[in-house]
Amino acid sequence: MPDVPRPPVEDWATDFDHTHPDYAANAPEIWDDLRHRCPVAHTERFGGAWLPTKHEDVARIAKDTDNFTSQGVIVTDWRPDIPRPMGYAPPITSDPPFHAVARKFLLEFFSPKAIDGWETTARETCRELIAEIKASGVDEIDAATEYAQHIPVRVIADMLGLPREDGDKFRVWIHRILEEPGQNSIISEEDTLDYYLNAKVKERRENLGDDLISYLCQADIDGMALLDDHVRGTIGLLIIAGIDTTWSGIGSSIWHMAQHPDDRKRWVDDPDVRPFAIEEFLRFYAPVTMARLVAEDVEVGGCPMKTDDWTLLSFPAANRDPEAFEQADEFIIDRQRNRHSAFGLGIHRCVGSNLARMEMAVALEEWMDAFPDFELADPAAVTWSTGQVRGPRSMPIRVQVPATAISGTAVE
């Protein structure tokens, strides 16, 4: 929990706070309200920040790397004090032209064909988790913490050649960075992601393997080995960006299915609908909101953005903009035209998008095979993360629904 509770929000148009628990619970309603009356909201919190809610404005900012810098991508009360162009987690915090150099090291590891090679790992992970759930004999489980959470942790640990048991530590560090940015009490140096990565990079430089960390340790830019800061920053990025995000995507999909028996039936009966369903989960429950710092004064949606202001890139809000999507506020499991921006737009398109999509598809397939019928055990007990990654963090699910209660249990 944050050390100091966030002050209540007076008006979401002029005083928004995406780290407030009210935002976590009601974000889609807040975006719809803002889009209607004030498409670009503002807050004096965080030293000044903007929240565009229309697809047009979000896309414009995402593609404008002159007026906006990626040096800061998580909104905090301070401004990152790192010289451009690398930033602290390349390539997500890098600007052109260095961005393309840093990104190129990762692309071939995350191309669709490279990710196909990790599908078995993901599927075995899901099956192990489901076997544990079934063996426990209980009919109520927390699908967020006992299933969805573990899948991306285990796959990314294998990709990086790190022990899966370190996953618990990853989650604590990620929580601090993403959900409580700048709101933590003093922590010991040994208990930080930086310290852990330093040790791992040092270890790997002395004893190379065939994992992604070893590859980065051997990579070079114009004959110069990558700086330790670069390797550490990129690995930190893959851990931070690769876990909570996909955990959220899987969790939101299960949350939706728990309440929509018709969509569950469609998924089970019609395998051809599944790729469309995954994209609709990504549109409707897009987990990730990115951020930029204003590099040069600029006007967006009639709002004067000043140098060093933050602006959120609310892809989840853009995905529900009725000007960009027909029936934007409806989940349509077989939506055919779906230009969603869950993985961002422009040069910073999520480098792990193929991995995330594969993990979501496999996690849903395995879950639905094992539990074709299930429901929220206590809808009011579901909690959502705060900050820039949105998904269920606690979600009690009843997995063995009595046969007599299967139909007519939809809860909106």
Partner: protein
């Protein structure tokens, strides 16, 4: 029907490759490669439209003749 693909606009979302593998491949870095030159065969017209209509970067266009 013809299809055009703008490599500069493509950011490697891979939606086209998933929806229409007969028309798009991807390179080692995950950027699209348009496999057809000229007329789209009738049986692939719907897939071509899907690829165009799902590209988040508007990098694919259909040219009806």
């Amino acid at each position: 029907m013809k299809i055009t693909y703008d490599r500069e606009a493509c950011q490697g979302h891979n939606r086209c490759y998933m929806l229409a593998p007969e028309l798009f491949d991807t390179d080692d870095e995950g950027y699209a490669i348009l496999l057809v030159d000229g007329e789209i065969p009738d049986e692939l017209e719907e897939k071509a439209r899907l690829a165009a209509d799902n590209c988040p970067e508007f990098a694919i266009e259909i040219v009806e003749e």
